[in-house]
Symmetry: C2
Subunit: 339 residues, 2 copies
Amino acid sequence: MAPLKNRRFLLVKRPEGTPSPSDFSLVEQPVPAAPEGGMVVRNHFISLDPAQRGWMDDAPSYMPPITLGDPVRATTVGVVHESRNPDFKAGDWVLGLNAMEDYSIVLPGGFTSAIDVTLVDSPSRYLSAVGAVGLTAYFGLLEVGKPQAGETLLVTGAAGAVGAMVGQIGKIKGARVIGIAGGADKCRRLIEDYGFDFAIDYKGKSEAELSALIAQAAPQGVDIVFENVGGVVMEAVTMNLAQRARVVLCGLISEYNATERVGLRNLWQVIVKQATIHGFLIAGYVDRFAEGGAQVAQWIGSGQLRADEDIQNGLENSYDAFMRLFSGANTGKLVLKIA
Amino acid sequence: MAPLKNRRFLLVKRPEGTPSPSDFSLVEQPVPAAPEGGMVVRNHFISLDPAQRGWMDDAPSYMPPITLGDPVRATTVGVVHESRNPDFKAGDWVLGLNAMEDYSIVLPGGFTSAIDVTLVDSPSRYLSAVGAVGLTAYFGLLEVGKPQAGETLLVTGAAGAVGAMVGQIGKIKGARVIGIAGGADKCRRLIEDYGFDFAIDYKGKSEAELSALIAQAAPQGVDIVFENVGGVVMEAVTMNLAQRARVVLCGLISEYNATERVGLRNLWQVIVKQATIHGFLIAGYVDRFAEGGAQVAQWIGSGQLRADEDIQNGLENSYDAFMRLFSGANTGKLVLKIA
């Protein structure tokens, strides 16, 4: 039997603006051995997330930047290949913060947990609906946004994995839900597939045009914003805040690759509306993941929540798959299946 | 006796960027008569505030824009000249939202309250330390920023009326206090007059240089920001937030006259630091003004709090006096004395 190979998708250069293929290199190395007390995991599914773009920059963040020459850090679901950790044995399914590679070394004390794949239709669900996506939507909307029945919730990046779930949870809680997304097809899906009350297509519109459309959909202003996009879309929303609006700042996908960031030039609206912007990381709710996951799973089981995945295939397609995050091509949680 | 004249400082054109003298017109009109149930107030002191610049724009705010041809709206302290309101009589000292003019009509139900000028060394104090300035510092810092002993507080516009008071209240509460101000003299006053622990001069410095100086003064990051300035100064501060930092967004003086606003281009730092930005208006604390005013007055009386005023003279100097807000010339609360 030929020895197993470990293909690894390395970061070799820090991207300036939009990542280019030459910022990365796919190499083949021997499969590593498990270190004492640790293990080696065969990755099956890799979560592709906007946060990875931030880790590629050499800038202050909640995690150190990815070291040049290392594989791109990623949350993965996989199977224990070799274990010297007494808590895991070969063949166990696990979820952890690993990297875009066939095999990852997990050091003792690394962030890895066992998952029960018999509870879900695909192990990839632990990277989407019952994983970070669902938990981000659940805690971000309910613990930070705190929607009350009858309030108006606006979601940007609404057709994305998190956004679609936020809008649906908003409906479950009795809010009026407006979604902003790019393109007629995504807007149609917001209404037909996810039950949003209003959908606004931002494509080809100036900030003023977008702001006027939001004002039509929310004549009393927007009480809660779940912000995934940033830039001009966020500015248009900010012109329509209701008094004491809560902005859950979850992501800024339009800004991550920008060499000239737009920022938030109408920040003064936050003062005059006595609004609050809350920087949100799911990491702040680790101790409540079980509670959130159970509620999301129950809503999915009862048919109240629809969660789509966009599964791409093959580690050799890492770059093209990752770039779907920024092109607006992906529908549902983006996952790369590599085994 | 010659009939009394009412000089009025009118807004005749909406400023584009920095206000110019031709945006205003000083006219002389007859003193109005009190309307039924209302009164006429002889203004003595006029509060000059950055918020007035916002009211000159035709843009959504917490108050309607100033109508072109009307005098510039302002908080004033004055004496009742003629009263048809049973709650006030001629000669009473009052505080109210009036305008930059010798005599203002106060309609029934207008925002006007009697003040006791025997409690203070000058009636202008009701426009500064025991008025909006002191209350903004008090409620903004204590109710929103919530400083804990040992935390690091950073104040921008620190030598301004609000900023100097925020820093001093921060010290009373046991915080380490860093002030950012423009020029060596203001920085010297922060340390010597107001007891700040660190003073940083932003003048002539790039965002990166400013950010490095803040990092030196706050190696563990800034826990509370009291933001009066915005723009590049705010961006430099934002690069130095501690985890779960609270930003009290009180003013954006650097942005009000800008035709190209800087905004906050590193908003993603708010996410990775799980920080919160709170748009703050003193109007949200009206029902607690008495409590706040009493505490501030007590601190001033006991010598724990120093509150400076920058008194300019003469309604004919309205434009030049107002512009001191933006030139960085004023030291202490800016007030125009017109009688």
